[in-house]
């Protein structure tokens, strides 16, 4: 995209000399400074949009073009309402005007891009003032929150899996103590009833067998390396104990 697409010529109107007469050297310096600023504006990884006092787009950088899906040519001169709800911006600008502050930071909101999708952004609005302190326009800088939100989802998932691991290990510990008592008593009763009631003997052996089964499960719970979930019912998920303990790697 060429400079024209981003509306750079418009800021030339703000180039003024002290007395209205500008020397050639001063003009060259001003142009160099403006070129430098244009370069910063164009290469910024943050989406930047300049608005006039009546909230019309006066400049837009390539990152903002990409984020909104609109070209600079399309947006220049249009109201900000093309890409976001005007009341969202107006609310912040009204606060800036009333309180006389330079900028308001970290306002989470959304752009509506050219494909009709809502793009979550963190918006900063700064007032652009002239030499007398009068507000001549606003600079909107927007950070795309989609990647951050995706990372937050991954982080939440990691925290959830870590919590599952801790719970599984706690369950293993909490069950093993009472299980120790049940197994011990069952085995004592087996020894003491060795030659007596065969029905009682069979029942005690059944209890002992089931205790060993629980023991096998708690042992696996205590050895969880990386929790793996599987479908249960009604969209609920359950821990796949076998798959979770398959790896020897430790979960840290």
């Amino acid at each position: 995209m060429g400079k024209k697409n981003h509306g750079y010529p418009r800021y030339n109107s703000s180039v003024k000399g002290d007395s209205g007469t500008i020397s050639v050297d001063t003009m060259i310096n001003n142009i160099k400074n403006l070129d430098y600023m244009a370069s910063v504006f164009e290469s910024s990884p943050v989406a930047m949009i300049c608005l006039s006092g009546n909230l019309r787009v006066t400049m837009i950088n390539p990152t903002a073009n990409e984020l909104t899906g609109y070209s600079g040519d399309y947006l220049l001169g249009r109201r900000i309402s093309v890409i976001m709800r005007q009341d969202r911006v107006k609310k912040i600008i009204s606060t800036i005007r009333k309180k006389g502050i330079i900028s308001l930071n970290g306002y989470p909101t959304r752009f509506e891009n050219s494909y009709g999708e809502e793009v979550p952004i963190r918006l900063r609005i700064s007032s652009m003032r002239d030499e007398y302190g009068r507000i001549g326009g606003f600079l909107l800088t927007a950070v795309d929150m989609r990647e951050i939100k995706a990372l937050q989802v991954k982080l939440l998932e990691a925290e959830r899996l870590a919590a599952i691991t801790e719970t599984a290990i706690s369950v293993n510990h909490e069950i093993n103590n009472p299980l120790c008592s049940i197994l011990g008593n069952t085995q004592l009763m087996l020894i003491e009833n060795d030659d007596s009631d065969p029905v009682m003997l069979k029942r005690l052996q059944s209890i002992e067998k089931q205790i060993h089964r629980i023991q096998g499960i708690t042992d696996k719970l205590g050895r969880i390396a990386k929790p793996v979930l599987k479908e249960y019912i009604n969209g609920k998920k359950m821990l796949d104990v076998e798959a979770s303990t398959a790896s020897e790697k430790t979960f840290s």
Binding site: H173, N176, C180, I224, S252
Partner: protein, 137 residues
């Protein structure tokens, strides 16, 4: 086994009752304390041949109790005895488990729930006894 003294250090009364009954049935003299600090006092005051030591104890945990007592045995402050740790705690890292076992200087670790037969066998092993009255389950 007659005359052999065992100190059970365990805060779960049901487990204590089962262990005490099983050991007394085999002729051991059994004493019981329910927390780590009492275990230290008891072991310094009376002599035992073997200590059955839980890990998750009130007062002082089993790892610390074992290490303190082993150091005192090495310094000749108390008469040596065997320490057999019984734990329901399994950490999910073999390296960490090995580290804690080494650090505590206990003679052996057994994980709950354990077979009574296995416990008796290990006690006899540490006390230099070959005999076991129970058959393998």
């Amino acid at each position: 086994m007659k005359g052999r003294k065992i100190l059970i250090v365990e805060d779960d009364e049901d487990i204590v009752e089962t262990l005490k009954y099983s050991l007394e049935l085999r002729g051991f003299e059994v004493d019981v304390v329910y927390d780590g600090l009492h275990a230290l006092r008891k072991a310094r005051k009376d002599h035992f041949d073997l200590m059955l030591l839980d890990i998750m104890l009130p007062g002082k945990n089993g790892y610390e109790v074992s290490r303190v007592l082993r150091d005192e045995m090495d310094e000749g402050k108390i008469k040596p005895f065997k320490i057999l740790v019984l734990t329901a705690r399994r950490v999910n890292s073999a390296e960490r488990e090995d580290f804690l076992a080494t650090w505590s200087k206990a003679d052996e670790y057994m994980y709950k729930p354990f077979e009574l037969e296995d416990l008796i066998e290990r006690i006899n092993f540490h006390l230099g006894e070959k005999e076991s009255r129970l058959s393998k389950v």
